[in-house]
Protein backbone atom coordinates (compact mmCIF):
# COMPACT_ATOMS: atom_id res chain seq x y z
CA UNK A 1 0.00 0.00 0.00
CA UNK A 2 1.38 3.40 -0.93
CA UNK A 3 1.46 6.27 1.61
CA UNK A 4 -1.26 7.98 -0.42
CA UNK A 5 -3.46 4.89 -0.26
CA UNK A 6 -2.89 4.56 3.47
CA UNK A 7 -3.87 8.18 3.93
CA UNK A 8 -7.08 7.56 2.01
CA UNK A 9 -7.73 4.46 4.09
CA UNK A 10 -7.36 6.45 7.32
CA UNK A 11 -9.77 9.07 6.06
CA UNK A 12 -12.24 6.37 5.12
CA UNK A 13 -12.02 4.72 8.55
CA UNK A 14 -12.50 7.99 10.37
CA UNK A 15 -15.44 8.96 8.21
CA UNK A 16 -17.33 5.66 8.24
CA UNK A 17 -16.47 3.85 11.42
CA UNK A 18 -19.04 5.36 13.76
CA UNK A 19 -21.87 4.83 11.30
CA UNK A 20 -20.82 1.25 10.74
CA UNK A 21 -20.62 0.72 14.49
CA UNK A 22 -24.23 1.87 14.91
CA UNK A 23 -25.35 -0.44 12.13
CA UNK A 24 -23.50 -3.37 13.69
CA UNK A 25 -25.00 -2.60 17.09
CA UNK A 26 -28.51 -2.61 15.65
CA UNK A 27 -27.77 -6.01 14.13
CA UNK A 28 -26.48 -7.63 17.33
CA UNK A 29 -27.53 -5.50 20.33
CA UNK A 30 -24.09 -5.56 21.91
CA UNK A 31 -21.63 -2.69 21.56
CA UNK A 32 -18.62 -4.88 22.19
CA UNK A 33 -19.54 -7.42 19.55
CA UNK A 34 -20.33 -4.56 17.21
CA UNK A 35 -16.92 -3.01 17.86
CA UNK A 36 -15.18 -6.34 17.22
CA UNK A 37 -17.05 -6.91 13.97
CA UNK A 38 -16.35 -3.40 12.69
CA UNK A 39 -12.70 -3.60 13.63
CA UNK A 40 -12.34 -6.95 11.88
CA UNK A 41 -13.97 -5.58 8.77
CA UNK A 42 -11.66 -2.57 8.72
CA UNK A 43 -8.55 -4.74 9.14
CA UNK A 44 -9.66 -6.93 6.25
CA UNK A 45 -10.40 -3.83 4.25
CA UNK A 46 -6.86 -2.55 4.89
CA UNK A 47 -5.40 -5.73 3.41
CA UNK A 48 -7.63 -5.37 0.35
CA UNK A 49 -7.55 -1.57 0.11
CA UNK A 50 -5.22 -1.33 -2.87
CA UNK A 51 -7.62 -3.53 -4.85
CA UNK A 52 -10.83 -1.93 -3.60
CA UNK A 53 -12.66 0.92 -5.26
CA UNK A 54 -13.73 3.63 -2.86
CA UNK A 55 -17.31 3.50 -4.10
CA UNK A 56 -17.57 -0.20 -3.29
CA UNK A 57 -15.78 -0.11 0.08
CA UNK A 58 -19.03 0.52 1.96
CA UNK A 59 -20.63 -2.58 0.47
CA UNK A 60 -17.52 -4.59 1.29
CA UNK A 61 -17.42 -3.56 4.95
CA UNK A 62 -21.19 -3.92 5.39
CA UNK A 63 -20.98 -7.42 3.98
CA UNK A 64 -18.15 -8.43 6.31
CA UNK A 65 -19.86 -6.95 9.37
CA UNK A 66 -23.23 -8.48 8.53
CA UNK A 67 -21.90 -11.93 7.82
CA UNK A 68 -19.51 -11.88 10.76
CA UNK A 69 -22.37 -11.19 13.13
CA UNK A 70 -24.66 -13.76 11.52
CA UNK A 71 -21.87 -16.35 11.52
CA UNK A 72 -21.29 -15.76 15.22
CA UNK A 73 -24.95 -16.34 15.90
CA UNK A 74 -24.85 -19.56 13.88
CA UNK A 75 -21.89 -20.84 15.83
CA UNK A 76 -23.87 -20.21 18.96
CA UNK A 77 -21.15 -18.89 21.23
CA UNK A 78 -22.99 -15.63 21.65
CA UNK A 79 -25.94 -17.45 23.15
CA UNK A 80 -23.84 -18.01 26.23
CA UNK A 81 -22.91 -14.34 26.28
CA UNK A 82 -26.06 -12.68 27.50
CA UNK A 83 -26.52 -9.46 25.65
CA UNK A 84 -27.92 -6.63 27.68
CA UNK A 85 -26.81 -3.96 25.28
CA UNK A 86 -24.43 -2.08 27.52
CA UNK A 87 -22.98 1.08 26.10
CA UNK A 88 -19.20 1.25 25.91
CA UNK A 89 -17.38 3.99 27.73
CA UNK A 90 -17.76 7.33 26.09
CA UNK A 91 -21.14 6.62 24.57
CA UNK A 92 -23.85 9.11 25.32
CA UNK A 93 -27.28 7.77 26.09
CA UNK A 94 -29.82 10.32 24.99
CA UNK A 95 -33.22 8.65 25.35
CA UNK A 96 -35.30 7.30 28.20
CA UNK A 97 -34.13 3.96 29.52
CA UNK A 98 -37.56 2.33 29.29
CA UNK A 99 -38.10 3.23 25.64
CA UNK A 100 -34.62 2.16 24.80
CA UNK A 101 -34.94 -1.12 26.63
CA UNK A 102 -38.25 -1.84 24.91
CA UNK A 103 -36.75 -1.21 21.48
CA UNK A 104 -33.64 -3.28 22.22
CA UNK A 105 -35.76 -6.10 23.57
CA UNK A 106 -38.02 -6.12 20.51
CA UNK A 107 -35.06 -6.29 18.14
CA UNK A 108 -33.48 -9.04 20.24
CA UNK A 109 -36.49 -11.25 19.59
CA UNK A 110 -35.84 -11.28 15.85
CA UNK A 111 -33.77 -14.10 14.34
CA UNK A 112 -30.32 -12.77 13.26
CA UNK A 113 -30.97 -12.87 9.51
CA UNK A 114 -34.35 -11.13 9.79
CA UNK A 115 -32.83 -8.53 12.04
CA UNK A 116 -29.90 -7.87 9.72
CA UNK A 117 -32.28 -7.63 6.77
CA UNK A 118 -34.41 -5.01 8.51
CA UNK A 119 -31.35 -3.01 9.54
CA UNK A 120 -29.97 -3.00 6.01
CA UNK A 121 -33.33 -2.16 4.45
CA UNK A 122 -34.66 0.45 6.89
CA UNK A 123 -31.62 1.82 8.71
CA UNK A 124 -29.13 1.79 5.87
CA UNK A 125 -31.92 2.42 3.33
CA UNK A 126 -30.51 -0.14 0.96
CA UNK A 127 -32.60 -1.44 -1.93
CA UNK A 128 -33.70 -5.05 -1.97
CA UNK A 129 -31.15 -6.18 -4.54
CA UNK A 130 -28.19 -4.67 -2.71
CA UNK A 131 -29.41 -6.16 0.55
CA UNK A 132 -29.59 -9.52 -1.20
CA UNK A 133 -25.99 -9.21 -2.36
CA UNK A 134 -24.78 -8.37 1.12
CA UNK A 135 -26.83 -11.17 2.70
CA UNK A 136 -25.82 -13.58 -0.06
CA UNK A 137 -29.35 -14.63 -0.77
CA UNK A 138 -32.02 -14.09 -3.39
CA UNK A 139 -34.17 -10.99 -3.74
CA UNK A 140 -37.16 -13.13 -2.85
CA UNK A 141 -35.51 -14.21 0.38
CA UNK A 142 -34.87 -10.59 1.35
CA UNK A 143 -38.53 -9.78 0.73
CA UNK A 144 -39.76 -12.72 2.76
CA UNK A 145 -37.30 -12.03 5.60
CA UNK A 146 -38.44 -8.41 5.63
CA UNK A 147 -42.10 -9.35 5.75
CA UNK A 148 -41.54 -11.90 8.52
CA UNK A 149 -39.42 -9.51 10.56
CA UNK A 150 -41.99 -6.73 10.33
CA UNK A 151 -44.77 -9.14 11.25
CA UNK A 152 -42.79 -10.37 14.26
CA UNK A 153 -42.37 -6.80 15.47
CA UNK A 154 -46.04 -6.02 14.90
CA UNK A 155 -46.98 -9.05 16.98
CA UNK A 156 -44.57 -8.05 19.71
CA UNK A 157 -45.89 -4.53 19.92
CA UNK A 158 -49.43 -5.80 20.20
CA UNK A 159 -48.47 -7.75 23.30
CA UNK A 160 -47.86 -6.21 26.72
CA UNK A 161 -44.66 -6.50 28.74
CA UNK A 162 -42.40 -6.00 25.76
CA UNK A 163 -39.52 -4.80 27.82
CA UNK A 164 -38.41 -8.17 29.10
CA UNK A 165 -34.67 -8.36 28.75
CA UNK A 166 -32.12 -10.94 27.73
CA UNK A 167 -34.02 -12.47 24.82
CA UNK A 168 -32.01 -14.60 22.49
CA UNK A 169 -31.74 -13.26 18.99
Amino acid sequence: MTPQQECEFREYVQARRSGLLRTAYLMCGDWHRAEDAVQSSMIKLYAAWSRTKLETADAYTRRIVTNTLIDESRRGWFRRERSYSELPEGVADGSGPEERLAAVSALAKLPPRQRATLVLRFWEDLPVDETARIMRCSVGTVKSQTARGLQTLRNLYEKPNLAGRGAES
Partner: protein, 266 residues
Protein backbone atom coordinates in the same frame (compact mmCIF):
# COMPACT_ATOMS: atom_id res chain seq x y z
CA UNK B 1 -44.96 -1.23 11.33
CA UNK B 2 -43.77 0.76 8.33
CA UNK B 3 -40.30 2.02 7.34
CA UNK B 4 -40.71 5.18 9.42
CA UNK B 5 -41.71 3.10 12.43
CA UNK B 6 -38.66 0.93 11.88
CA UNK B 7 -36.35 3.92 11.77
CA UNK B 8 -37.94 5.19 14.98
CA UNK B 9 -37.44 1.81 16.60
CA UNK B 10 -33.78 1.79 15.59
CA UNK B 11 -33.30 5.29 16.92
CA UNK B 12 -34.83 4.30 20.23
CA UNK B 13 -32.57 1.24 20.41
CA UNK B 14 -29.54 3.44 19.86
CA UNK B 15 -30.81 5.83 22.48
CA UNK B 16 -29.15 8.78 20.81
CA UNK B 17 -25.80 7.07 21.17
CA UNK B 18 -22.84 8.66 19.49
CA UNK B 19 -20.47 5.73 19.79
CA UNK B 20 -16.81 6.36 20.37
CA UNK B 21 -14.78 3.43 19.02
CA UNK B 22 -12.57 1.87 21.67
CA UNK B 23 -9.58 1.44 19.37
CA UNK B 24 -8.19 4.19 17.18
CA UNK B 25 -7.46 4.37 13.49
CA UNK B 26 -3.77 3.81 14.25
CA UNK B 27 -4.64 0.50 15.90
CA UNK B 28 -6.55 -0.62 12.82
CA UNK B 29 -3.76 0.39 10.47
CA UNK B 30 -1.20 -1.40 12.67
CA UNK B 31 -3.34 -4.55 12.77
CA UNK B 32 -3.83 -4.35 9.00
CA UNK B 33 -0.08 -4.12 8.48
CA UNK B 34 0.50 -7.11 10.73
CA UNK B 35 -2.07 -9.07 8.75
CA UNK B 36 -0.28 -8.28 5.49
CA UNK B 37 3.13 -9.06 6.98
CA UNK B 38 1.99 -12.39 8.42
CA UNK B 39 0.60 -13.35 5.06
CA UNK B 40 3.84 -12.45 3.34
CA UNK B 41 5.92 -14.25 5.94
CA UNK B 42 3.90 -17.40 5.32
CA UNK B 43 4.39 -17.00 1.60
CA UNK B 44 8.11 -16.39 2.07
CA UNK B 45 8.61 -19.51 4.15
CA UNK B 46 6.75 -21.53 1.55
CA UNK B 47 8.94 -20.16 -1.21
CA UNK B 48 12.10 -20.89 0.75
CA UNK B 49 10.94 -24.43 1.38
CA UNK B 50 10.45 -24.81 -2.35
CA UNK B 51 13.92 -23.46 -3.11
CA UNK B 52 15.48 -25.74 -0.50
CA UNK B 53 13.64 -28.74 -1.92
CA UNK B 54 14.87 -27.85 -5.40
CA UNK B 55 18.42 -27.44 -4.15
CA UNK B 56 18.24 -30.79 -2.39
CA UNK B 57 16.85 -32.42 -5.50
CA UNK B 58 19.78 -31.06 -7.49
CA UNK B 59 22.41 -31.87 -4.86
CA UNK B 60 21.43 -35.47 -4.27
CA UNK B 61 22.00 -36.78 -7.79
CA UNK B 62 25.18 -34.71 -8.11
CA UNK B 63 26.47 -36.14 -4.85
CA UNK B 64 25.63 -39.63 -5.92
CA UNK B 65 27.49 -39.13 -9.17
CA UNK B 66 30.54 -37.77 -7.37
CA UNK B 67 30.11 -34.18 -8.54
CA UNK B 68 30.60 -31.34 -6.10
CA UNK B 69 27.47 -29.70 -4.79
CA UNK B 70 26.64 -26.46 -6.61
CA UNK B 71 27.86 -23.31 -4.82
CA UNK B 72 24.58 -21.51 -5.34
CA UNK B 73 22.78 -24.20 -3.38
CA UNK B 74 25.10 -24.46 -0.37
CA UNK B 75 27.43 -21.95 1.25
CA UNK B 76 31.13 -22.62 0.64
CA UNK B 77 32.61 -24.74 3.39
CA UNK B 78 29.54 -24.53 5.64
CA UNK B 79 27.22 -27.12 4.20
CA UNK B 80 24.26 -24.84 5.11
CA UNK B 81 21.96 -23.48 2.47
CA UNK B 82 22.83 -19.81 2.07
CA UNK B 83 19.24 -18.93 1.30
CA UNK B 84 18.27 -19.52 4.93
CA UNK B 85 20.26 -16.50 6.06
CA UNK B 86 18.11 -14.22 3.97
CA UNK B 87 14.97 -15.60 5.58
CA UNK B 88 15.91 -14.49 9.10
CA UNK B 89 14.94 -10.93 8.27
CA UNK B 90 11.32 -9.95 8.62
CA UNK B 91 9.68 -9.17 5.30
CA UNK B 92 9.07 -5.51 4.67
CA UNK B 93 5.82 -3.97 3.62
CA UNK B 94 6.01 -3.25 -0.07
CA UNK B 95 4.23 -0.43 -1.74
CA UNK B 96 2.44 -2.62 -4.23
CA UNK B 97 0.61 -5.83 -3.48
CA UNK B 98 0.07 -6.91 -7.03
CA UNK B 99 2.52 -9.82 -6.83
CA UNK B 100 1.14 -11.08 -3.58
CA UNK B 101 -0.33 -14.55 -3.23
CA UNK B 102 -2.09 -16.05 -0.25
CA UNK B 103 -2.32 -19.00 2.06
CA UNK B 104 -5.36 -21.18 2.60
CA UNK B 105 -6.87 -22.28 5.90
CA UNK B 106 -5.48 -25.60 7.07
CA UNK B 107 -7.13 -28.82 5.97
CA UNK B 108 -8.48 -29.72 9.40
CA UNK B 109 -10.27 -26.38 9.71
CA UNK B 110 -11.74 -26.73 6.23
CA UNK B 111 -12.96 -30.27 6.91
CA UNK B 112 -14.49 -29.12 10.18
CA UNK B 113 -16.24 -26.25 8.45
CA UNK B 114 -17.66 -28.52 5.75
CA UNK B 115 -19.03 -31.09 8.19
CA UNK B 116 -20.32 -28.38 10.51
CA UNK B 117 -21.99 -26.56 7.64
CA UNK B 118 -23.80 -29.69 6.47
CA UNK B 119 -25.03 -30.40 9.99
CA UNK B 120 -26.25 -26.84 10.36
CA UNK B 121 -28.05 -26.66 7.04
CA UNK B 122 -29.58 -30.11 7.31
CA UNK B 123 -30.51 -30.78 10.93
CA UNK B 124 -30.83 -34.48 11.57
CA UNK B 125 -28.49 -35.42 8.74
CA UNK B 126 -26.00 -38.19 9.39
CA UNK B 127 -22.55 -36.80 8.69
CA UNK B 128 -19.03 -38.17 9.13
CA UNK B 129 -16.57 -36.86 11.70
CA UNK B 130 -14.31 -34.13 10.35
CA UNK B 131 -11.27 -36.26 11.19
CA UNK B 132 -12.59 -39.00 8.90
CA UNK B 133 -12.48 -36.91 5.73
CA UNK B 134 -9.26 -36.19 3.91
CA UNK B 135 -8.17 -33.92 1.10
CA UNK B 136 -6.70 -35.14 -2.12
CA UNK B 137 -5.69 -33.53 -5.38
CA UNK B 138 -8.53 -33.58 -7.88
CA UNK B 139 -6.39 -35.67 -10.24
CA UNK B 140 -6.43 -38.47 -7.66
CA UNK B 141 -10.22 -38.70 -7.48
CA UNK B 142 -12.43 -41.22 -9.21
CA UNK B 143 -14.59 -38.37 -10.47
CA UNK B 144 -11.65 -36.80 -12.27
CA UNK B 145 -11.01 -40.06 -14.07
CA UNK B 146 -14.65 -39.98 -15.18
CA UNK B 147 -14.19 -36.52 -16.65
CA UNK B 148 -15.59 -34.50 -13.76
CA UNK B 149 -12.94 -31.80 -13.35
CA UNK B 150 -13.76 -29.66 -10.34
CA UNK B 151 -11.41 -26.78 -11.06
CA UNK B 152 -8.05 -26.08 -12.59
CA UNK B 153 -4.54 -27.12 -11.58
CA UNK B 154 -4.09 -26.95 -7.85
CA UNK B 155 -7.68 -27.79 -6.98
CA UNK B 156 -8.03 -30.06 -3.98
CA UNK B 157 -11.11 -32.00 -2.91
CA UNK B 158 -12.52 -33.46 0.25
CA UNK B 159 -15.67 -35.62 0.35
CA UNK B 160 -18.22 -36.03 3.11
CA UNK B 161 -20.85 -38.72 2.56
CA UNK B 162 -24.04 -37.91 4.42
CA UNK B 163 -27.63 -39.04 4.73
CA UNK B 164 -30.08 -36.18 4.35
CA UNK B 165 -33.75 -36.99 4.88
CA UNK B 166 -33.06 -40.59 3.97
CA UNK B 167 -31.19 -39.62 0.80
CA UNK B 168 -27.56 -40.63 0.36
CA UNK B 169 -25.66 -37.52 -0.62
CA UNK B 170 -21.99 -37.04 -1.30
CA UNK B 171 -20.98 -33.49 -0.41
CA UNK B 172 -17.63 -32.19 -1.48
CA UNK B 173 -15.53 -29.16 -0.74
CA UNK B 174 -13.14 -27.88 -3.36
CA UNK B 175 -10.42 -25.30 -2.79
CA UNK B 176 -8.10 -23.69 -5.28
CA UNK B 177 -5.47 -21.04 -4.61
CA UNK B 178 -5.64 -18.16 -7.06
CA UNK B 179 -2.37 -18.09 -8.90
CA UNK B 180 -1.73 -14.41 -8.29
CA UNK B 181 -3.60 -11.76 -6.37
CA UNK B 182 -4.48 -9.77 -9.44
CA UNK B 183 -5.41 -12.78 -11.49
CA UNK B 184 -8.39 -11.14 -13.15
CA UNK B 185 -10.02 -9.82 -9.98
CA UNK B 186 -13.50 -11.11 -9.24
CA UNK B 187 -14.99 -10.63 -12.66
CA UNK B 188 -16.94 -13.30 -14.46
CA UNK B 189 -14.18 -14.62 -16.68
CA UNK B 190 -11.68 -15.65 -13.98
CA UNK B 191 -14.45 -16.89 -11.70
CA UNK B 192 -15.76 -19.19 -14.41
CA UNK B 193 -12.25 -20.23 -15.32
CA UNK B 194 -11.47 -21.35 -11.77
CA UNK B 195 -14.85 -23.09 -11.53
CA UNK B 196 -14.08 -24.92 -14.78
CA UNK B 197 -17.34 -23.73 -16.26
CA UNK B 198 -16.33 -24.88 -19.71
CA UNK B 199 -17.51 -28.33 -18.64
CA UNK B 200 -20.69 -27.32 -16.81
CA UNK B 201 -23.70 -25.05 -16.81
CA UNK B 202 -22.80 -21.98 -14.77
CA UNK B 203 -24.53 -18.88 -13.55
CA UNK B 204 -22.31 -16.05 -12.32
CA UNK B 205 -23.27 -13.25 -9.96
CA UNK B 206 -20.96 -10.68 -8.36
CA UNK B 207 -21.19 -10.47 -4.59
CA UNK B 208 -18.96 -7.44 -4.23
CA UNK B 209 -15.89 -5.88 -5.77
CA UNK B 210 -13.64 -8.76 -4.80
CA UNK B 211 -15.97 -11.76 -4.60
CA UNK B 212 -17.94 -13.56 -7.25
CA UNK B 213 -20.39 -16.43 -6.88
CA UNK B 214 -20.75 -19.21 -9.41
CA UNK B 215 -23.69 -21.60 -9.32
CA UNK B 216 -22.45 -24.60 -11.25
CA UNK B 217 -24.68 -27.43 -12.33
CA UNK B 218 -23.43 -30.75 -13.57
CA UNK B 219 -26.02 -32.40 -15.79
CA UNK B 220 -24.24 -35.39 -17.27
CA UNK B 221 -21.27 -36.51 -15.17
CA UNK B 222 -22.23 -36.88 -11.51
CA UNK B 223 -25.22 -34.54 -11.69
CA UNK B 224 -25.71 -32.03 -8.93
CA UNK B 225 -25.21 -28.41 -7.87
CA UNK B 226 -22.04 -26.69 -6.67
CA UNK B 227 -21.79 -23.24 -5.15
CA UNK B 228 -18.39 -21.65 -5.68
CA UNK B 229 -17.08 -18.38 -4.30
CA UNK B 230 -14.24 -16.70 -6.14
CA UNK B 231 -12.51 -14.64 -3.45
CA UNK B 232 -10.02 -12.48 -5.28
CA UNK B 233 -9.10 -10.39 -2.23
CA UNK B 234 -8.44 -13.47 -0.11
CA UNK B 235 -6.65 -15.26 -2.91
CA UNK B 236 -8.57 -18.51 -3.09
CA UNK B 237 -11.60 -20.17 -4.54
CA UNK B 238 -13.84 -22.33 -2.40
CA UNK B 239 -16.83 -24.39 -3.45
CA UNK B 240 -19.26 -26.85 -1.94
CA UNK B 241 -21.19 -29.29 -4.07
CA UNK B 242 -23.48 -32.27 -3.77
CA UNK B 243 -24.09 -35.40 -5.79
CA UNK B 244 -26.16 -38.50 -5.23
CA UNK B 245 -24.68 -41.73 -3.99
CA UNK B 246 -25.99 -44.81 -5.76
CA UNK B 247 -28.15 -42.82 -8.16
CA UNK B 248 -27.71 -41.02 -11.44
CA UNK B 249 -30.22 -38.35 -10.44
CA UNK B 250 -29.18 -35.03 -8.91
CA UNK B 251 -29.68 -34.89 -5.13
CA UNK B 252 -32.43 -32.80 -3.54
CA UNK B 253 -30.00 -30.12 -2.39
CA UNK B 254 -30.54 -26.50 -3.38
CA UNK B 255 -28.07 -23.72 -4.01
CA UNK B 256 -29.24 -21.67 -1.05
CA UNK B 257 -28.06 -24.31 1.41
CA UNK B 258 -24.77 -24.74 -0.44
CA UNK B 259 -24.29 -20.95 -0.52
CA UNK B 260 -24.69 -20.85 3.24
CA UNK B 261 -22.13 -23.62 3.75
CA UNK B 262 -19.63 -21.97 1.43
CA UNK B 263 -20.10 -18.66 3.12
CA UNK B 264 -19.42 -20.17 6.54
CA UNK B 265 -16.02 -21.39 5.38
CA UNK B 266 -13.40 -18.75 6.15
Amino acid sequence: MNPDDMRGLFNEALGGADPVPISGTDDIVAAGRRRVLRRRAAIGSGAIAGIAALAAALAIPMGLSGWPAPLDATGPGTGEPSVQEEETEAPELEEEESTESYTLPDDAALAEALVGGISEQFPGATVPQAAEVEFSAQEQTEAYAEGYHYGNDGTRIVYADATVNGEQVRFFLQVTPIESADDGGASQEPAEHYANCADFECEYSPLDDSTGLVHRTSVDVRPGPTSIEHRAADGWVVGVGAESLGSTEAPSIDFEALDAIVHSIR
